[in-house]
């Protein structure tokens, strides 16, 4: 089987989720760095792969797939990865899909909203902090964390499941992003705290490897802890 071409920049949360999955499942792939700071994502060459100019994307022979969750759904099926990643049982799969679809306008919108408005806008684009946007994002994030704490993890060791799935990778990578500004999602939420430790333990050495980029990226910027309850 030929290698999967993987287009990515590991400062991106969804790219990290895909990278972790590729590594943990030993899926042969070729990593193509898309240089986000140099705006390579809007190059003519890359737009042929992803017309939206976003990372990640994959190419399997001539077949391109965009949207990180669609990518993992495709890879799980194509490579017949262990069932727990994306269970075949209709009800079990439905529960993972429930989280995946809810994630976009809840976990991601909240966490990315905080990171974008507290880091990217002021520190990279040198624009004034939009306090209203930050407050809105924090409120969204808080509500999302409460739902994860009280529903998605209630009675489960992982999101809606008793084994790790692709849902956990997406949540974890949003949280590792805001960890760079001192937000500890497990601080007041014991289920989340324990879940996070479990997921990282499962991922093992890949976790640190995959996070090298975002850690060095944020070390180069003057970042302070963002208050969050």
């Amino acid at each position: 089987m030929s290698k999967i071409d993987f287009y990515s920049h590991l400062a991106s949360q969804p790219c990290r989720a895909v990278q972790i999955f590729l590594k943990m499942n030993n899926i042969p792939h070729e990593y193509h760095l898309i240089d986000l700071p140099k705006e390579e994502q809007t190059s003519e060459a890359y737009l042929k792969i992803n017309p939206f100019g976003k990372v990640p994307a994959i190419k399997d022979g001539d077949f391109c797939v965009i949207e990180s969750m669609a990518i993992l759904q495709y890879l799980a099926a194509k490579f017949s990865t262990p069932d727990h990643w994306y269970p075949k049982d209709a009800a079990a799969r439905a529960k993972i899909n429930e989280y995946l679809n809810w994630h976009h306008s809840n976990t991601r919108e909240g966490a990315t909203g905080v990171f974008f408005n507290a880091v990217i806008l002021p520190k990279i684009r040198h624009q004034p902090r939009n306090e209203e946007a930050i407050t809105t994002a924090k409120t969204k994030l808080s509500a999302a964390l409460d739902m994860i704490e009280n529903y998605f993890l209630e009675g489960h060791s992982f999101i809606s499941s008793n084994d790790i799935s692709i849902a956990d990778l997406f949540a974890l990578c949003e949280f590792s992003q805001i960890e760079r500004i001192g937000i500890d999602v497990g601080k007041k939420r014991p289920n989340i705290k324990a879940w996070r430790e479990r997921v990282i333990a499962k991922i093992g050495s890949h976790y640190d490897e995959v996070h090298e980029t975002i850690i060095s990226f944020t070390k180069r910027i003057d970042l302070s802890t963002e208050p969050f309850e």
């Binding site: 797939v65 965009i66 529960k95 995946l100």
Partner: protein
């Protein structure tokens, strides 16, 4: 539309959203985030419309075209389904409904003309992407037969029709796609949109001015 088109037996449980029917403790047990739609089958409960459609397609062995088992065809549908949330919905139909109806009239929150104009521009941008990257030259999203992706798109894009915004205006590809969906769904389309158009008449009348689209 999916339940009806596939003759899946179900018991409709109507929730009066305007009267906070989704905010009850009883509904919270079925859908903890208190959002619609949700399904319940014995002890099994599920929210998130996309997850519901994917579940029903699998569980009831519906005709393959709805959510093809072929990896590549399914990938195209999944790509759309994930893009849908923050684009067709939050930079499209829902955003327009929020800025023109839900905020000013139901939540009594003022929305500036600038914000409303931005919502219309966002919808236009989303429609451009929808046509170019998802419809392309296909009859439906990603292929030549109707899928659950089309149902999700119809839901958001046609909602604004009740406000006098027809997404097919000046967009023959979108119009043709919409007509194909209506044809494929027949009476199930009309039935599903009955309430929208009933409520829509009141919503449209509540607008301070016709929407420039």
């Amino acid at each position: 539309m999916f339940l009806d088109a596939n003759n899946i037996p179900y018991e409709p449980k109507y929730l009066d959203l305007l009267k906070g029917g989704h905010k009850t403790e009883e509904y919270k047990k079925i859908s903890p985030p208190q959002i619609v739609p949700a399904i319940k089958q014995g002890d099994f409960k599920l929210f998130e419309s996309v997850a519901i459609l994917q579940y029903l397609a699998e569980k009831y062995s519906v005709p393959d075209h709805w959510y093809p088992k072929d990896l590549q065809k399914r990938a195209r549908i999944n790509e759309y389904l994930h893009w849908h949330h923050m684009n067709t919905r939050w930079k499209g139909g829902l955003l327009v409904m929020l800025k023109f109806v839900f905020l000013p009239h139901f939540m009594k929150v003022e929305v500036s003309a600038e914000d409303q104009k931005a919502a219309i521009e966002a919808l236009k941008g989303t429609l451009d992407s929808f046509e170019k990257n998802f419809l392309k030259d296909n009859k439906f999203i990603g292929g030549d037969e109707i899928t659950i992706a089309d149902l999700m798109a119809i839901g958001e894009l046609i909602a604004v029709d009740c406000l006098g915004i027809y997404v097919g205006k000046g967009r023959p590809k979108v119009e043709a796609w919409h007509n194909r969906c209506k044809e494929a769904l027949g009476s199930h389309y009309d039935e599903a949109h009955k309430t929208l158009y009933q409520v829509g008449a009141t919503l449209k009348a509540s607008l301070s001015a016709p929407i420039d689209f």
